[in-house]
Symmetry: C2
Subunit: 260 residues, 2 copies
Amino acid sequence: MIEKRNMKKVLFFFGKFAFMQLESVLYMIPVPISDGSLRDILPLGNNEIISGIKHFIVENVRTARRFLKKMDPSTDISQIVFYELNGHTPENEIWGYLSPLRDGVPMGVMSEAGCPGVADPGAKVVMIAQNEGLKVVPLVGPSSILLSLMASGLNGQKFSFQGYLPVDPKDREKTIRDLESQSRRYDMTQIFIETPYRNEKMMESLLKNLGGETLLCVAADVTGKEERIITKPVRRWKEEGFKIEKVPTIFLFYSIGSRK
Amino acid sequence: MIEKRNMKKVLFFFGKFAFMQLESVLYMIPVPISDGSLRDILPLGNNEIISGIKHFIVENVRTARRFLKKMDPSTDISQIVFYELNGHTPENEIWGYLSPLRDGVPMGVMSEAGCPGVADPGAKVVMIAQNEGLKVVPLVGPSSILLSLMASGLNGQKFSFQGYLPVDPKDREKTIRDLESQSRRYDMTQIFIETPYRNEKMMESLLKNLGGETLLCVAADVTGKEERIITKPVRRWKEEGFKIEKVPTIFLFYSIGSRK
């Protein structure tokens, strides 16, 4: 028996094939957030675990299938069971998804992009597992939120992820101003996301409502070929001009007033 | 020329040796948070980048050296320049660290554990680079904060990382109660860290001050052999008993009252 990390894995050898038997665990499995090479964004160790799993709870079946095929083109997708978990899945159905895990079979949770359980509905099924004392193990992978923060230069000792801001322009502007004063009061970086087609409107609202010295970071296409993570005071964003693309983007700001 | 991700890398072949020349970039380089195997927690692609860097800004020179040797035992440490950046390094000295990068030489930033720029002093040097328009690229790796959140089952659509709570018992208890009411008001998971030898005291304070139905997650030795990430209502933590070890631990809580 090989014990590695905190999962008991049993390797059986038949000729040149090795079969791994995973412990009964709910694995939280990150998937890519851009089109780059998997070896740049996922540890090799993840592959072994993923290839031992036949039951996946996923935000989007199509992207989950595509990821499994990209990771290992020899994957027989017809042998894999997918359970769709999105914002509309009823609670009792989610509860039922964990039956294989309750019977001792390992399962995986995958988001549409990035790390499951963060900025997606994945936490619901994890809470059910935690409540029943089932073991949950997270795997390492790309999170645009964390990667943006690392490269932003903004305060990483205190930060808040706010999800999506309100769509209504008035509400959104008020929220931006509230978050700015919270940033100053609590010495905290504010992080949020927007759907790509609204990026430009978001940037307009930010430049209109934030103070000139507030540091604003725009992180676009993180881990992708066109990745750019740029931090400047709002004043300089306005002076120097910019082009916001319709690509996945994270916005972060930190009010300079909060510096002690 | 091979263009991969967003870094221009030039490969030269001399016999069986390939030399890679990296673009002039400040790379944010994650390091392990436990004693496990590197292939379980770091993408292979990181190795190529790291082996092309000779100038590292690090929180702790000894752990940085050990990591580079573990990644590639053939590394000639005597050829590598380390610049120490901790909470006490003066601002003008940090400014000077970036001289090689200004001259077009790639540099790396490494924390003592996990992702640089998050819960460490690394952001200071990144802000200087961002201010001068130097390019910053984050690499994927383990963050105990993010991994704990993924496996906690707590709200990952809104969360706050609070760093360390106050040490003074009265201040700490007040802070815990304030964070609980913020969690309820803003529907937000609260995340914070503690130095291992104070874990037990922290747990006592939490159980004493949080409401019985508040969901508390204790994430210990994340990615390590003894990893356990367990979420239960405060009431059940009290009833069922527990043992808190002196290992790196992340605490997370979410006030159930915030659920809509």
